[in-house]
């Protein structure tokens, strides 16, 4: 693979290129794939991914084209690719926008030495420590332990380096009620090795698989009409991503936004701040794809939309004074309410959370829910819920408990009324 300096020299040698952005990612990972508790295959990955965004601009327009540099490239072939990219950039014209200038350069290089095979082995032990039940077991497990070094260099003098580490565990827990087996899906992600937490998370999902094996259908329970519905985990990311995207520069510029500044999203006071880095959120990033160093930006205050956020291109088109950059994490703050004494339905897992931002339709097929009938929780399965997120947000409430997900930090549950259950 060509070295960084050789690539930059090649780019600089092409005088038709107005600007460029070079991104390099080195990935080193170890992966373990289990069927039950036997290791079927282990993998090692050592790769480098190099991309160049080539810009060709005049006073009114700009065009860009992406070039992927592979191991097949040398100086001659890259020069040819760059020439072709210039031609493409000249052809695909857009309204002019300037690239971000250098503010500060991030050098997040820790030079931590890790034995990835050793960590992967310890993660495996932590997973199978939870595999202690007679009627429940871990059907299959995939473990990924990866470290990344990312570099971003632009013609505007920006030069960032960031290192990251990630543990991912995909696990399928199964439980048998002696007539039939039931399974659920668990994806755990963390940027620090917390083996106790891994064991606890796997134990929790095994218990939920047990609940699914004992779950009743809607026909077997008598749900009240005004039942409150609590959603959690990935559905919270889907909802907050959908709300925040309505306030993105791109949606506003393209007139595809359901919310504008000063619109009331909810009568319930809540704040939504887009953040670059939140401890525990593995989607955290210090800079965006154009190299903008990210700072938190509050876009919803007391339930009302107060600002837009987003990338350089659409921020420029909207003539925003200070462009936020693409912020990856949604943090929600709100006063929590107690729901525990009221009859309620907690949706534990969807088969796949659905959201159609155009219409606001959201919901999906529920793999497991727990209905609290005022005395006890009854596991339920085999039904769907549906609502309109723009309507449902008007009287949403939030739990006191909190959770931290890949791209979300905030209340553990969003509590909705008027949800169709069928």
């Amino acid at each position: 693979m060509m070295k960084k300096n050789e690539i930059i020299s090649c780019i600089k040698a092409n005088k038709k290129i107005t600007d460029y952005e070079l991104t390099i990612q080195d990935k080193n990972s170890r992966e373990l794939f289990y069927v039950l508790d036997h290791l079927e295959i282990n993998r090692a990955v050592k790769t480098k991914t190099v991309k160049i965004e080539v810009y060709v601009a005049d006073k009114k327009t700009v065009g860009s084209s992406t070039v992927t540099v592979t191991a097949a490239d040398d100086g001659k072939s890259l020069a040819s690719k760059l020439n072709k990219a210039v031609t493409k950039a000249k052809q695909a014209r857009n309204a002019y926008y300037p690239l971000p200038e250098k503010t500060e350069n991030i050098k997040d290089k820790k030079n931590v030495k890790r034995d990835l095979n050793d960590i992967a082995g310890k993660v495996a032990k932590a997973v199978f420590k939870a595999d202690v039940y007679k009627n429940g077991w871990i059907n299959s497990t995939e473990i990924f332990v990866s470290e990344f070094t990312d570099e971003f260099i632009s013609s505007k003098g920006i030069s960032h380096t960031a290192q990251s580490f990630k543990i991912e565990v995909e696990c399928i827990p199964t439980w048998s009620n002696k007539k039939e087996e039931f399974e659920l899906y668990k994806f755990y992600e963390s940027n620090k090795p917390d083996y106790r937490q891994i064991t606890a998370e796997i134990d929790d999902i095994l218990k939920l698989a047990k609940d699914r094996s004992n779950a009743k259908t809607l026909k077997e329970v008598d749900l009240p009409k005004d039942l409150i519905v609590l959603v959690k985990n990935d559905m919270l990311e889907v909802i907050t991503d959908s709300i925040s995207s309505q306030l993105s520069y791109a949606s506003v510029f393209m007139h595809e936004n359901h919310y504008s500044k000063n619109d009331t999203i909810s009568d319930t006071a809540f704040d939504l701040t887009m953040k670059p880095v939140v401890p525990g959120c593995t989607g955290s990033k210090k800079y965006d794809r154009n190299g903008i160093v990210l700072k938190p930006k509050k876009i919803v205050s007391k339930g009302k939309a107060i600002a837009y956020f987003g990338d350089q291109r659409f921020g420029s088109y909207l003539k925003e004074e200070k462009i936020s950059g693409s912020l990856p994490v949604c943090e929600v703050k709100a006063d929590g309410v107690s729901y525990k004494k009221e009859k309620h339905l907690i949706i534990e897992t969807f088969s796949s959370p659905q959201m159609e931002e155009d219409s606001g339709y959201w919901g999906g097929e529920v793999r497991l829910a727990r209905y609290y009938d005022g005395k006890k929780y009854i596991p339920l399965t085999g039904f769907s819920i549906a609502g309109n997120i723009y309507e449902n947000m008007k009287d949403v409430q939030f739990s006191e408990e909190t959770s931290v997900l890949k791209n979300y930090k905030g209340p553990k549950y969003f509590i909705f009324r008027n949800i169709k259950i069928s």
Partner: protein
């Protein structure tokens, strides 16, 4: 023509196989080079890019009942000792279980299928721009029109002690998205063409554009469905979605190995109405997942999964087939060279029946024609369905009423749905423009389709 870089690395792959055979009982090298060109013409953004292109190698080895793999960018200077060191595990949690070793038959072959149209970027951009301008001219409620041409050129080599294979194949997708707005109501509709010929894909894109916009505009007035059980007719896109999501994932035989598929207990038993036949295979038709050999170096197959309502067999990658003592069906696929092989669907579709579409519509007392795949999710263990159609058209007393519902979620139990199929149209359409994940990751290009199917289903 096979990518020249890959061609230049065949001798390196042969060297690695020879060296690593001193340490391992089985060795193979897969090299991939995928070039994706994307031309985007839209109301607000235009670009011509090389997106998600990849080039690299994966070395697979076997010893003492376990497989190991090493993925890297290049093998020219790769020493066998580096591979051995990287994949050797000193202490790792595992029960004492030995996976069987792959057995291969000698095979050497080079395959080629290239886009016959040699269109320039200018010609393609012009074709996309003309349609974009025409759609804006047609209705002022269009707030964004995006047309995306994507050509994927795939080159692969597979080298082991007994095999030396190469393939190069192209696939073209042209996608259009219409976003329309009336007051505060925003709706969108899309259509994607998939062809092995750029000129044909662009021709179909142009032909379908007015219909795609018409549906987007009708969606502005669409109403939600009243939840309940209805007679439905699925268009080929929704038939394909059912074939793929509701049933196909459940017959991926790595799921049989893990005992994660209910289907394993139904082989040789009825799973659908007698009118139902279902197929999968990279050679079952020419579409998005039509390759010549899979990522295990197994030649493409055409597998009949359901015959006259009876489940015949599943589909498998080599390793799953070894474990189950069956033949691999050429369904071993990786997202890219840095990912593992899984059993994956390719082109998955229901076979034709004998009914005429018009007669099927006439036979519906009250129900919906469900159209346009939105999304779906599998549940191979428990066979629950989640399939979403973008919209449905109401049929009463055999005639369309003009009412549209959107979106429409089909739910229920897979076997109930497939067993309720009472009419099957005589023409099959396969849509070659999809992507599919396994669980929530591992994305590969797939196609699906079928005829129109009449059935009973729970809608919500």
């Amino acid at each position: 023509m096979l990518d020249q870089y890959l061609k230049s690395r065949i001798t390196d792959a042969e060297r690695l196989v020879e060296q690593l055979q001193k340490h391992y009982d089985y060795v193979s090298v897969l090299g991939t080079c995928v070039r994706n060109k994307m031309i985007l013409v839209s109301t607000h953004v235009n670009s011509i890019d090389e997106v998600d292109s990849e080039c690299g190698f994966v070395i697979k080895v076997y010893k003492d009942g376990r497989y190991s793999e090493y993925s890297c960018n290049d093998i020219r200077d790769l020493k066998s000792t580096e591979v051995v060191k990287s994949v050797t595990l000193n202490q790792v949690f595992s029960s004492d279980f030995k996976v069987k070793m792959l057995e291969e038959q000698p095979h050497q072959e080079d395959y080629l299928r290239e886009d016959p149209a040699d269109l320039s970027d200018t010609e393609i951009t012009k074709a996309l721009t003309e349609v974009k301008d025409a759609m804006h001219k047609k209705d002022e409620r269009v707030i964004n029109f995006a047309a995306r041409y994507m050509k994927r050129e795939t080159s692969k080599i597979f080298v082991s002690a007994k095999k030396r294979l190469s393939q190069k194949y192209d696939w073209i997708n042209v996608m259009q998205l219409d976003v329309v707005r009336e007051g505060d109501v925003i709706k969108s509709n899309y259509e994607a063409e998939g062809e092995a010929d750029s000129a044909l894909a662009l021709k179909k894109f142009k032909k379908h554009a007015p219909e795609v916009l018409d549906i987007a505009l009708r969606l502005l007035k669409a109403k939600p469905v009243k939840p309940g059980k209805y007679t439905i007719i699925t268009d080929p896109s929704i038939s394909g979605l059912i074939a793929h999501e509701a049933f196909g994932h459940g017959v991926e035989m790595d799921m049989f190995v893990k005992n994660r598929a209910k289907a394993v207990n139904y082989v040789g038993k009825p799973v659908a109405s007698k009118l139902v036949n279902m197929f999968d295979g990279a050679s079952s038709c020419l579409s998005a997942a039509s390759y010549f050999f899979d990522d295990d170096g197994v030649e493409a197959h055409n597998t009949q999964i359901i015959k006259d309502g009876i489940l015949q067999r599943g589909i498998s990658d080599s390793l799953s087939a070894m474990e189950l003592g069956s033949e691999p069906t050429g369904n071993g696929r990786r997202q890219d060279f840095s990912r593992k092989v899984y059993t994956r669907m390719t082109n998955t579709w229901f076979g034709p029946g004998k009914d005429k579409y018009e007669d099927m519509v006439k036979s519906v007392k009250h129900g919906y024609l469900l159209c346009q795949t939105n999304n779906g999710m599998e549940d191979p263990k428990n066979w629950q369905i989640q399939c979403t159609a973008s919209y449905g058209l109401e049929i009463k007393d055999g005639k369309f009423t003009g009412e549209m519902i959107a979106p429409v979620v089909i739910s229920g139990y897979v076997i109930d749905l497939l067993s309720s199929i009472s009419m099957v149209s005589n023409k099959v359409t396969v849509h070659g423009s999809g992507m599919c994940g396994k669980g929530h990751k591992e994305w590969v290009f797939v196609s699906d389709g079928g005829p129109y199917l009449k059935a009973e289903a729970k809608l919500g």
